[in-house]
Symmetry: C2
Subunit: 198 residues, 2 copies
């Protein structure tokens, strides 16, 4: 007597999306099935395809369709610089400054003790191994200037310093409490130039 199971299952599955509650999921399901079946089909295929082909680059940890991403494999980039960011969106913002030609390491998150994300969950061992490859001369910490981002930078700086790696941090040109993703690239460029040694 209730709704068809395939509809219920779709509504339930939509709740995997961040900040989508039951009402919102229901509205999305109706919209996709009623108003945009073409978009819905495209979404189903894109999701299945992305799950199938995307993995993490062995060197920089960002999403990639190959074991080593194009950027890491590019000999034109300066392999002696490694910039650590939280998410791929932050990497994109760094690239927009057009001032940085080194490589990246994408944490895919940040330390967040309240959410149970410590150094182990963030796989900082992978970053430490990457930064110790012999080619890297300086690690530039470009995590967000939020509390969690600052704490993450602090922990990484200590771990790298203990291994004798030179570490720097973007200058505070980025507003305190701000996120890279929402900062203009001019400000980020300035912060890059004025990065301070740690």
């Amino acid at each position: 007597m209730s709704s068809p199971s395939s509809l219920d299952e779709l509504i339930e599955a939509l709740r995997a999306l961040p900040s989508v509650g039951p009402k919102s999921a229901q509205r999305m399901a109706y919209h996709l099935l009623q108003r945009d079946q073409r978009g819905a089909g495209r979404l189903a295929r894109a999701l299945a395809h992305a799950l199938e082909v995307l993995r993490h680059c062995e060197r920089c940890n960002t999403f990639s369709e190959t074991d080593i991403c194009q950027r890491c494999a590019n000999p034109q980039r300066d392999h002696s610089l490694l910039c650590v960011v939280e998410m791929p969106a932050d990497l994109a913002m760094m690239e927009q400054t057009q001032l940085y030609n080194g490589l990246y390491y994408v944490l895919m998150g940040r330390l967040s003790p309240l959410d149970g994300i410590g150094p182990r969950e963030l796989r900082l061992d992978k970053l430490l191994a990457r930064a110790s490859d012999g080619a890297v001369k300086e690690v530039i910490l470009a995590t967000n200037f939020t509390n969690e981002g600052e704490a993450t930078a602090h922990v990484i700086a200590e771990l790298l310093a203990a291994r004798g790696v030179r570490v720097s941090r973007l200058s505070r040109g980025v507003p305190v409490g701000g996120e890279l993703e929402h900062t203009d690239s001019g400000t980020i460029a300035q912060a890059l130039v004025e990065r301070r040694a740690l």
Copy 2:
């Protein structure tokens, strides 16, 4: 040099969801790929499956996995009463009152001239044919008490009256401007009992 095409395509595809902009789609994609691959796989499958098996019930127009839904095929329901609602969620609210044992017709929308949705787009001809099957003795209009819902009820009432069909409207126990989906079932029950002839 930019992000992998499968990731870009997923982010673009997520924008088919209602009120999801570029930033939001990006956040959703990262979440699904990074934090909830299982949920992402489930969503891809649920979406593909729903698109494949769901159609509209030939009689009541709601989502169904069969040509005629379970409710319309149920001989225990009163086939002389036809309740017209906007969306499946409204039907669910009517059912929760446990006061109604008739059948339904789900418009899958409402008249909305500003969005270009007139009687033709809403397929009111299908409702008129359904209400004229000989078994239906009364059509109960249970569209929302919003401006668009009231206008929809008004137009349907005129069309049905011209065909000699008895029409009633839920009483105004539902708060003016309110939507059924967000009304408690007790209020809806009262509105059902006090429905007025049109």
